[in-house]
């Protein structure tokens, strides 16, 4: 990052009225860009922001590693006899939990960003309306990929051996990304709805902690009381974790994949329109 010399102290080059006039004469406009093109452009904006503020990758690197180490060694001995055995079971689950947890940062960045003047400009452009929001999520998909790769690398070092091989692992991550994209519309909604960053954060915590912990990520639901099993067995996180676990183990968990995609569709169909309504009314 270049350290700016105080710009005020330097004289600004005067505006060139002639070249400005020449530029303004051009009245022809390019055709309206497609929804995909504007969404990808907004995704590029998100990536540029990562480039300028790389510190923001901390949450997708350090946090997942911390989770993995903590849960593997904390519960491994008690639940599976040894951390080495436990990691075979728990890694896909922790991967799901960590990525789903970091999706909530989307809401916070939307909340911070939307108050800035640049959003007024985006909203006054003749483009497909959801593309700014979709752009965030595309940028975030990159972050989730980084988090997944980091966790898998650490997992492999700790002794995790996926039977599904490269293909199984990639399929698992792809399913996780699809689900996270749909799930994130909850956060874009909160990001637009809440007044402050802090309130977005606290509401997100209230949603994310029960949802990720009350699942089959850490233990088999059969050990839980009946009423909790009812919740856990029907949680989208449970379906997702089972599907990812299966794919990475080289199986083809069709039912769990279908449930996961079904949930993703429902989340997108419910929270996508609510987000866009808030976005248009902001």
């Amino acid at each position: 990052m270049s350290t700016a010399t105080t710009p005020e102290s330097r004289e600004l080059t005067p505006v060139s009225a002639d070249s400005l006039a020449a530029l303004l004469v051009a009245k022809e406009r390019p055709p309206r860009p497609s929804a995909l093109s504007t969404s990808v452009t907004f995704g590029w904006r998100a990536i540029l922001k990562i480039k300028h503020v790389p510190e923001q990758l901390f949450d997708v690197t350090a946090f997942p590693i911390m989770n993995l180490l903590m849960f593997t060694y904390l519960f491994g001995g008690a639940l599976a006899g040894s951390p080495g055995d436990y990691i075979q079971f728990v890694l896909p689950g922790i991967l799901v939990m960590s990525v789903v947890m970091i999706t909530m940062y989307t809401g916070i960045s939307v909340n911070v960003d939307i108050e800035k003047g640049v959003f007024d400009r985006f909203r006054s452009l003749p483009i497909w309306r959801p593309s700014a929001m979709v752009g965030y999520l595309l940028g975030d998909a990159l972050r989730y990929t980084i988090a997944s790769v980091v966790m898998l690398a650490v997992g492999l070092l700790l002794g995790y051996r996926p039977d599904g091989g490269f293909v199984g692992v990639v399929a698992g991550i792809a399913l996780l990304l699809v689900f996270s994209f749909a799930f994130s519309w909850i956060w874009t909604m909160f990001g637009l709805m809440m007044r402050t960053e802090k309130s977005v954060m606290s509401v997100s915590m209230m949603v994310i902690f029960p949802l990720t912990f009350l699942s089959n990520v850490f233990v088999d639901p059969k050990t839980m009381p009946g009423w909790l099993q009812a919740f856990v067995n029907n949680s989208p996180i449970t379906h997702l974790a089972s599907a990812v676990r299966g794919l990475m183990a080289g199986e083809w968990p069709g039912v769990e994949i279908a449930w996961t995609l079904g949930w993703a569709g429902v989340l997108l169909l419910v929270f996508g329109p609510v987000t866009m309504r808030l976005y248009n009314r902001k």
Partner: protein, 340 residues
């Protein structure tokens, strides 16, 4: 390219926007002819930005209607968006990105290809004297540079209508003049500009018609000349060498200018508000006054001629002041409510 060439650029009728109990915009009627600069003048909180946001399709009016080039801002928002550009009160560019990145981003969003967006961006940066700062993040730009990149972003595609919301608030006089030059260049190419400002002299410099708004209502509308005539031509401020001569100077000025003359708290200073209706320009009247004082042997140490300030416009139009100190521009007038 328009099928509505005969339409005014903006036409609103009874536009209303309320936030809770506040009627931020309370029945605004505007008609802005195409190809001109239209000034919307008013203090903070008058409803200027809210009006602009409704016209730029960012806010939905609660009542009334607004058309931009004949298109309804609610029902035909997308058509409106394709013809307008907005430069908001706070820089409407991404502060985390560099100047080039901002322009390429917006160029892409407007449908330019990668190469075309970059080329247009570079040309604009060059025309705006920002080539050296092109690779710097906008958050490191000075106020004047921000305004430039902001306006550059607004003319990536030459808009038919450009909203400039307080484009010079917070700028030093030099940067301010440069922004004015840019606005003139944009209008010279046929773009209509709606300019909001707190400064009468800015509206005076740029706009052909002006609407004064206060508390969400248009309280005066007309050409610059019409508006000024309703306010007065301005005021003269004098500092005399000798405080003892002040009563005599006051008497002379009162007779000569048929003006309201007020002594200052400073014992050697006084000011006179000039009448607009006298036929003479403010400068003529001031020259006469100086001549008269010289003939009477009164020594004047310093002299200044001020345009009516926004405070005076408001006082004249509404009977109350703007409720804020407008430490602004050339409006040098200060009301002295000290009992003399």
């Amino acid at each position: 390219m328009s099928t509505h060439t005969s339409d005014p650029a903006i036409e609103t009728a009874g536009l209303v926007k309320t936030f809770g109990d506040t009627r931020a915009v309370d029945g605004v009627d505007l008609s802005v002819p195409a190809g001109t600069v239209y000034g919307v003048l008013g203090p903070n909180g008058a409803g200027k930005t809210t009006t602009v946001k409704m016209l730029a399709t960012l806010l939905r009016p609660d009542a009334g209607e607004a058309r931009v080039f004949g298109r309804d801002v609610v029902r035909e928002a997308d058509e409106v968006r394709s013809r307008v550009s907005l430069t908001g009160q706070y820089a409407s560019v991404d502060e985390d990105l560099t100047g080039t990145e901002n322009l390429v981003l917006l160029g892409r969003l407007l449908g330019h290809g990668k190469a075309a967006a970059r080329e247009r961006g570079e040309q604009l940066l060059a025309a705006f004297g920002l080539t050296d700062a092109a690779a710097k993040q906008v958050k490191h730009y000075s106020g004047g540079m921000r305004r430039r990149i902001d306006i550059a972003a607004s003319i990536l595609n030459t808009p038919d209508l450009l909203f400039l919301d307080e484009p010079t608030t917070g700028l030093d006089p030099r940067s301010r003049n440069q922004v004015w030059d840019i606005v003139r260049a944009v209008v010279a190419q046929g773009t209509t500009v709606l300019l909001t400002t707190q400064y009468l002299d800015e509206a005076d410099q740029l706009a052909s018609r002006i609407a004064v708004i206060d508390k969400g209502k248009v309280i005066a509308e007309g050409t610059k000349g019409e508006l000024k005539a309703s306010v007065g031509a301005g005021s003269v401020h004098l500092r005399l060498r000798d405080a003892e001569e002040r009563p005599e100077a006051e008497r002379l000025l009162r007779n000569l200018l048929v003006a309201e003359v007020q002594p200052d708290p400073d014992p050697v200073a006084l000011s006179a508000r000039l009448a607009a209706a006298s036929g003479d320009t403010a400068a003529d009247q001031a020259a006469k006054a100086l001549g008269e004082l010289a003939r009477a042997g009164i020594t004047v140490d310093s002299f200044s001629l001020g345009q009516p300030s926004l405070d005076e416009v408001f006082l004249a139009l509404t009977g109350h002041d703007t409720g804020q100190s407008t430490g602004s521009g050339t409006g040098t007038d200060k009301k002295d409510e000290v009992a003399a």
